[in-house]
Symmetry: C2
Subunit: 182 residues, 2 copies
Amino acid sequence: MNVRTVCLAILYDGEATGYEIRKLSVEGEYSYFIDASYGSIYPALARLEQERLVTSRVEVQEGKPAKKIYSITPAGRSAFIQSLFEKLGEDEYRSEFLLFLRFASELPQSLVEQRLAERIVEVDATLADFDRLKKEHTHPGDAWVIDYGRTCMQAARDYIHAHRGKLIALARPDTGDAAAAE
Amino acid sequence: MNVRTVCLAILYDGEATGYEIRKLSVEGEYSYFIDASYGSIYPALARLEQERLVTSRVEVQEGKPAKKIYSITPAGRSAFIQSLFEKLGEDEYRSEFLLFLRFASELPQSLVEQRLAERIVEVDATLADFDRLKKEHTHPGDAWVIDYGRTCMQAARDYIHAHRGKLIALARPDTGDAAAAE
DNA sequence: TCGCACATGTAACGTGTTACATGATTAG
DNA sequence: CTAATCATGTAACACGTTACATGTGCGA
């Protein structure tokens, strides 16, 4: 899933500027799909405009920089939907956190304990964010997808909570200093 | 989490060749962390050797190409563990499947139904793979991490199974042809 | 005999990030 | 007065993938 596709998906639901798309992709509902920067969004939108899949109009504002508002064209809509018919890319999950936990036996107990506690707090925050998102959702499929994410997150949270003791027991008892390597 | 770090993690548990590392990262237990190709692994190993974090020896074989077996050095071990003390990168999850489902209302019922069914089969295969992995695991933290993955996958599977009807109901009734794009 | 498994490596290419350039307004 | 928000865009860089180059032995 590239920035291009995400731009089309966002514009499918309504107009937006590059600035807004970036915000959605970092903080909004799309942050669970991608995390795009300006350096990728602006060129992607320019290319989509060249290909006539989106159009733009400039809105001058007083006190603020001019906005370039993008809209999806009928061709853009059908290209996007068409892409959903084609073979989808595989889901991918990358977790440095899990790599860290895998090496719990080589790490100090206090660090493992701290990271597990932090993670529970983070997951709870994400769970709360899902609730906010659910209130704001516009798309009919949104609620389903948000609840899917919610269910997985909740399972992760419960697992960590229930089994963290086992991992902490595996870790190296603290020695006062933080020498754990070797 | 880059290829470099994954190479160190794999070599932490024992010697391996670039060829084997790639296999582990694509089919093996590391495939849940990364999916690296030769084009990234060989240069990464060469660089790690330059930095003295790994060493290599060549093993000539009859009938097969010579192997270059890499081992981690004490400096490599401590550099890797040290990296786990530093702030970890965030987990990331990218799913074209969820993007697809979000647009269920724009897609034909039969396609949505098919993709959901396929996904259940895939998740079941992954679940079975976790069981295989658990039998083969060497690391003490492995079992915990595998069960974590298992728990999340199981929750995803159950959710899809229980709620798929809702999404299918949202989709466009089939018309015979596959015209769903506006 | 066709293609896969073994095995290493490079070059071209794609895609995205970070940092830079620019600049007014507003909230603390 | 300082930092953040709004707003667009480019250039340098990092990192990874795909395809190419090379070659043997084995099973279907």
